[in-house]
Amino acid sequence: MADVGAVLRAQLPGTRLALKDVPVWLFGMFFVVLWAAPFVWMVSTSLKPSSQVMTPVVEWLPREVTLENYRNVMKYPIATWAMNSVIVAGVATALCVLFGAMAGYALARLRFPGRNVIFLLFLASIMIPPEVGVVPLLLAMIKVGWASTYQALILPTIANVLAVYIFRQFFLTFPRELEEAAIVDGAGPFKIFFRIALPLARSPAIAATVIVFTLNWNNFLWPLLITFDENMKTLPVGIAAFAPVVGSHTQLEGYATAMAAVTLLCIPSVVLFLALQRYFIEGITTSGLKG
């Protein structure tokens, strides 16, 4: 008698997929493909000539591929917006990660009264909608003459509590011996931090950088309010102008151009993510697990 059970449990060569699981696998993969569909649709639409976009029949593959939508999008100062995003997100992230590392280290390793209270306050701040402070901040920025400037875009985004959290988690698991050797040599806390702790914190540093950079890159409300002219807009704000309900370019542009704009907007984040996937996910999970 053939052992059906054994056959079903046998794994397909080179995989961990058992024969009996193939239907489940197919079912799951169907949903994964579905999950990717909107992106595919976005790119597909962006390559279609605008007259072929609103068709009664859904065409996944463009009948004819054209780059005219991308050319249309380029009429707008996309490069400027992109550069602004790079500068703003880049500087803010660098400072955030550095300061977050310093704070995370101190809160985890050094003893001083109130360190737990401070950490709790940082955590509690996540619950406060930042929108409470947005208009007062807008006014303050205008008052000191920083409206529509890089400083105004960068400064409020430096203090992201996530960075502190990630580093603190990491440093809590730090073995004491490494520091003690340095102390015997007479090193002070700052030196210990920069010479020993930080260089070893490569993993949380990359994770924090990637996560914070993505958050900053995608930041919407604050740049929307604080930028007063086209040249200072960041990429997400600039491209929002293609949105039918909100945007100002509606009479002029259609869905095809909007999709091209959005595709361009996606590229930096997606590329960054694909390159650094491991760190990205590691960062989230290390901070998440202990939480």
């Binding site: 205008i142 003459g145 002219d229 509606t250 009479q251």
Partner: protein, 437 residues
């Protein structure tokens, strides 16, 4: 000691000579010893924005080397007032920007915009050349009847109609109905439906936002509704007319089925042929011409009893500066823009408020063809629904998608509230607005 005096005298004479020379030489005013860059904020966002950009470019071209340039910044319309106020509150307001007549009463009260009578006088702006109606609209009687903007154009809302749809339905594009009943017949014939659902609107409408609100406003006015009495004391005069007008809009969707709530972007929809009759303003001309859309503009029909339509007047308003010497330069720039607004009022947007320009022989022939532009200009004769010039003015404006009126009416369009109840609410709120001054 003597040498110093000598130096001072020479310098004094030198600068006096320079000043004297400057006032005599054309194109360079006394203030222009150094280059000045005026900051101009614009919230224009439809296809008119492009043309306005050309106007600013033309100014800068003509004034290169003359020490006066304009730097234009574009602000989203919904944030405009907030940002101007925020900038003014910290002493950094822009020099001038686009204003709409009648809705800036609060800015006048707060001193954010400044009256221009004296400045206009000094700069030689020919007020007499302006249409009297335009000048009247630019004044705020409550604030010394000051002139608070330099009118740039007068826009009226008129129906743009897709001529391909007209011909398809067997109509002659040379004519258009003058009364509401016939217009509905035409709209019905041009509407494409799939069962009970409208797939191509006879009358371009959206489920919420500006389009239904302004339609209501115009039809209500035609039916005799007054948002405020002449003396600005009583709100919502003849509310039954207001209620009937609400029903009219609802009927477009539900009874006559010539419109659908599913459209969210009216400009794009009309531009892609999803609607036949679209009443809108001249700010759309440029884009549709660029697109090659086949359309003509006609005069707004008489739907409610009297032929009336909405008008809006745009102009340049001046913001309070800490350095008051800037006003002269700003007026200089605005005067030039107004004197040279032929392009703006034949290609960019509405009818010119300047008689000299309107009466130019080529006014009707230059720019966009008269058959798409003419109705906006001629239609000014019955465009009587404007803004209510009180502090709460923005609550009253019918051309808005996000103000109190629009948001409250939305509940009617969505079937969530009854016209009578909403009318009562609106009357209440408006009365409070009028009482506040």
């Amino acid at each position: 000691m003597a040498k110093k005096l000598e130096m001072n005298r020479r310098r004094f004479v030198g600068s006096a000579a320079a000043t004297g020379l400057a006032t005599v030489m054309p194109g360079r005013a006394a203030w222009a010893q150094s280059d000045m860059e005026l900051v101009h904020w614009s919230w224009l966002a439809a296809s008119d924005a492009e043309v306005w950009g050309k106007m600013i470019d033309a100014f800068n071209e003509a004034h290169k080397g003359k020490g006066l340039q304009i730097k234009m910044e574009v602000i989203p319309e919904e944030q405009y007032v907030t940002k101007v106020n925020a900038a003014a509150a910290t002493g950094r307001a822009p020099d001038f920007g686009w204003g709409t007549a009648g809705v800036r009463a609060k800015m006048a009260a707060d001193g954010v915009i400044v009256p221009l009578d004296d400045l206009a006088d000094k700069a030689g702006l020919d007020i007499a050349d302006f249409d009297a109606f335009a000048i009247k609209q630019a004044r705020y009687p409550k604030y010394d009847n000051g002139l608070f903007m330099v009118p740039m154009d007068l826009m009226s809302l008129q129906p743009e109609v897709n001529t391909d749809h007209l011909k398809e339905a067997g109509y002659d594009p040379e004519t258009f109905p003058g009364d509401g009943k016939t217009m509905l017949e035409w709209a019905d014939k041009m509407t494409k439906r799939d069962g009970d659902t409208v797939t191509r609107s006879g009358i371009m409408m959206t489920g919420s936002g500006v389009q239904p609100t302004v339609t209501w406003g115009i039809v209500a006015a035609q039916m005799g509704f007054q948002r405020a009495s002449e003396d600005l004391k009583e709100a919502a005069v003849n509310p039954e007319a207001g209620i009937a007008a609400m029903q009219y809009v609802l009927d477009l969707f539900d009874k006559w089925k010539v419109s659908t709530r599913d459209v969210t972007d009216r400009y794009k929809a009309f531009g892609t042929g999803q609607g036949s009759i679209f009443w809108t303003g001249p700010w759309t001309l440029n884009g549709y011409v660029d697109q090659g859309l086949p359309f003509r503009t006609y005069l707004f029909p008489n739907i409610g009893g009297t032929q009336k339509t909405y008008f809006e007047m745009g102009g340049m308003e001046f913001y309070k500066q800490q350095d008051e010497s800037r006003y002269a330069a700003t007026m200089e720039a605005v005067k030039w823009l107004s004197d040279n607004s032929f392009l703006w009022t034949t290609v960019g947007r509405g009818a010119s408020p300047r008689k000299s320009i309107l009466n130019r022989p080529d006014y009707k022939t230059a720019g966009h063809p008269w058959e798409i532009r003419g109705a906006f200009v001629d239609g000014m004769s019955f465009a009587t629904e404007g803004e209510i010039p009180v502090l709460a003015g923005p609550d009253f404006t019918i051309y808005s998608g996000g103000n109190y009126l629009a948001k409250t009416l939305e509940t009617v369009w969505a079937g969530l509230a009854k016209p009578e109840d909403v009318m009562a609410q609106i009357k209440d709120q408006w009365q409070r607005g009028l009482d506040a001054g």
